[in-house]
């Protein structure tokens, strides 16, 4: 799958993209929600899943989810991937159409397990 990682931390991008590539996936990177919109709209490559951080400059995760509800820029499943780990945060993300939720810290088996849950929905 082509997976867009939206996270302002280059270290997290490096870790997650390494996991994904080892699992046979391709990773793209956007450092915030605005850059993610640009990448999605440029439509250069099909994006199968979006991994979305919560706290980022310019446009954060929930703002991106709200923007997508209004503008419908993508129908790809969006998985939150964040240190925000309260039940309220999870409920909020799910109510904004996030398909799944990964709490940092996580391991590669959790990432692949969540991706397989997503693949079952596709």
């Amino acid at each position: 799958m082509n997976i867009l990682i939206v996270d302002d931390s280059k270290a997290i991008y490096a870790m997650v993209s390494k996991m994904l590539e080892e699992g046979g996936h391709t990773a793209l990177w956007a450092e915030d929600g605005l850059r993610a919109i640009e990448i999605i709209k440029s439509n250069k490559s099909k994006i199968d899943v979006i991994l979305l951080d919560w706290n980022m400059p310019n446009m954060n995760g929930p703002e991106f989810l709200e923007y997508n509800i209004k503008e419908k820029i993508t129908s790809s499943p969006i998985v939150m991937m964040t240190t925000e780990n309260s039940p309220d945060a999870i409920k909020k993300a799910l109510s904004l159409n996030a398909a799944e939720y990964i709490m940092k810290p996580f391991t590669s088996d959790i990432l692949f397990n969540k991706l397989s849950l997503i693949e079952m929905m596709l």
């Binding site: 870790m15 780990n85 799910l94 709490m103 940092k104 391991t107 590669s108 088996d109």
Partner: protein, 271 residues
Amino acid sequence: MIREEVYKFFADYIYKNTGMVYASSDYYRLDSRINELVKFFSLSSPDELYSLYKKEITLDMRAILINISTNNETYFFRDVKPFTTLAKKIMPEIMTLNPNEEIKMWSAASSTGQEAYSMLMCLKNSLEDSAFSKMSVEGSDVSTKALDKAKAGIYSGLEVQRGLPAQLLVKFFQQLEPEKWQIDLSIQKKAKFYEFNLLTGLFPSDKFHVIFCRNILIYQDKENKIKILNNLSKSLRKGGVLILGSGESLVGLETNLQSCMYDDFTTYKKI
């Protein structure tokens, strides 16, 4: 060469954050993990890594350390199919055959409880409250440490992410602390855990409507496989269903259980 102080620092941090124990006699098991972290941060030695982490551990550094230092554990809803088949196919049939009866299930190698709780969560999700009130699961294992954890029903942030969809996490768990989640009392009170050895235990007769015994037979020789299967069969009620692991079957084993397909999922029934 990794100094004792460096080992201790990372062992203590991993224990505090994941519950995984690295005793001082096992510090060598941290070697590859510490070296992987050194490489990841483009440092030149474990001492440099120690200085970096000692100075400040950001949330991202914590995530990277824990990712590199933990192994796989038991999953909720492992393999998915046994649970969806239980809820959608097996249980409606058993309830029709046994109206008004208490339905007893057994997670025969329950480990830390994820299988037993997954059985209950999927049934709670699919049945009316009145039907769910008749359900109970017994979980057994040889490890008292695993059973203590199962009884407490408290899992780390990593454990609740293994197999459990986020929708079910917020529906069936309360967050006690940022890294501690407890199974809801409505589920927990339906599960009972106790020590039991499948090779030496005294099996009850005609007790259970459903038995999950997954990924145990695979480690046994033929003689023990037959012994366990015959004992499990003894404990099943007539018409009761046994569910084995995805890589296990009764092929080549003489038992009084009959294979029974639900769509493409194989179970074994006591006729």
